[in-house]
Amino acid sequence: MTDAQHIRNLLWLIVSVLEVLFFAFLLVRRFYRSHPIFFLYAFSLVLQTATVAMSVQLWGDKGFGYWYTAWISQALVIGMRWSAIAEITRKILGGYSGIWRLANVVLFVLSIFVLVYALWTSHITLDLAVLSADRGVELCIAVFVVVMFGFARYYRLPVPDLEKQMAIGFCLYSCAWVVNDTIVDMAVRAAPEKWAQSLGATWDLFLSAAFIASLTLWTRAIHVARRVPVADENAPTEPVRLTSEHYARLSEEVSSRLTLLNHRLNHLLGSKDSRP
């Protein structure tokens, strides 16, 4: 067994153990109650590791069986990741019906645009098609998260710390995948042999480190959120909304003030126009 294989196996082992521990942590914390899709995502990670390990046993790490299993399971995991992000987005924006509807349309259109653009600019060749598709989807997820945060910031919506940390973790991990896929793409095109022998395994360190960083971020956020008393935990997630009476009163008062401001403005604009 070469050094490169040793490194790869060691990383695989560390990441697998961490995935199982994280899933157990979520299970103990009964995280499936508040974030069922995120919980399923964590489960899909464990399942992917187990499936890929079995495929290596069956076909070896050079066989087509392994290759197909690895990438199909990766596609499923990315699908789950996207669903988990959608769940977080709904938790952040869902309470504001107007903003939620607008954000849905904008985020959907933007995601499609980024995906199409990423695939279009990738100069896809048959052997690197999966890698390019993966990069496109990851870029799409990262942009989705940033725009979602942009919405929250622009409309001054309170973002609960748990959801914030989870989304940051997803975004950073997706960015790491974009960088990873791009570097792999370039390296494989330039020197495929060298990449397969040594560089690939070394580079795996980067992605593993990014994954471990995301896991740490999520674990910490879930741990801290648990410690916060229930009343405080709910406080920031509760959107500022008014009852019908408040709406009516606010509307009346604000409208009268604005009318006054408008009159002043009209007067002002009129006086400006009449200047010599």
């Binding site: 309470g95 504001y96 019906s97 107007g98 903003i99 509807r101 607008l102 349309v105 904008v106 990423a118 100069h123 990069r135 870029l139 998260v145 940033v146 945060f149 942009g150 929250a152 910031r153 409309y155 001054r156 919506l157 973002v159 940051i168 975004c171 950073l172 960015c175 974009v178 960088v179 896929d181 791009t182 793409d185 370039m186 959107p239 500022v240 909304r241 008014l242 009852t243 019908s244 009476e245 408040h246 709406y247 009516a248 606010l250 509307s251 008062e253 604000v254 409208s255 003030r257 604005l258 009318t259 401001l261 408008n262 002043r264 403005l265 002002l268 604009l269 006086s271 400006k272 200047r275």
Partner: protein, 192 residues
């Protein structure tokens, strides 16, 4: 390294930077509708625009340069520039208050128009750029007549949009059994 690949790497870095910016807490937020009302009831500075425009008129300074002592025109110009700069700062703050109020109302609105929201976003960007540009122009001793008119228009249009938004909220308030009402509203107002 080809350019599309380089762009992917740049995009990843850019996304991380944008993420850092987007997750920062905003400088100013209203916590309750009462704060919005309070802010809206404060005195409006843009009502002082005619006086400011008058203060910036070149004719006055030319007259002073021609008939008064030499240093007097310079002193007047410097003081008037300071006043205009301070006025701009107040105007910027006022615009931010209006913008914050409109954001808060958007949070309560049952639906938003994408075009109108984009338009407001564009206006807020334009206002910010215009203000910066004006400040530099004033500092360099140039006459920014036209730009003052532009930022006044922007503040006015935001005000009009706010009025329309609150009007829609008001209309909605009188439709207690509307299907589009939020669950929270219905839950909190069983009497409606």
């Amino acid at each position: 390294m080809n350019i599309p690949m380089l762009l992917f790497l740049v995009a990843a870095v850019l996304i991380v930077l944008l993420l850092a910016w987007a997750t920062r807490p905003p400088k100013r937020t209203f916590r309750s509708p009462n704060e919005v009302l309070e802010a809206l009831t404060e005195e409006r500075h843009y009502a002082r625009l005619p006086q400011i425009l008058q203060a910036l008129r070149e004719e006055d300074l030319e007259f002073l340069r021609g008939s008064g002592p030499g240093h007097l025109a310079e002193q007047v110009e410097s003081e008037r520039t300071k006043i205009a700069l301070r006025y701009l700062e107040y105007l910027e703050e006022e615009f931010q208050v209006l913008l914050e109020a409109s954001r808060m109302l958007a949070g309560m609105a049952p639906e938003l128009s994408a075009l109108r929201e984009f338009d407001r976003f564009k206006r807020s960007l334009m206002f910010m750029l215009c203000c910066r540009y004006l400040k530099w122009k004033l500092r360099l001793g140039l006459q920014p007549w036209r730009e003052f008119g532009v930022i006044s228009d922007l503040a006015g249009e935001i005000t009009l949009q706010l009025e329309a938004a609150t009007g829609r909220l008001g209309e909605r308030a009188f439709l207690p059994y509307a299907d589009t009402g939020t669950a929270h509203d219905r839950k909190k107002s069983p009497e409606v």
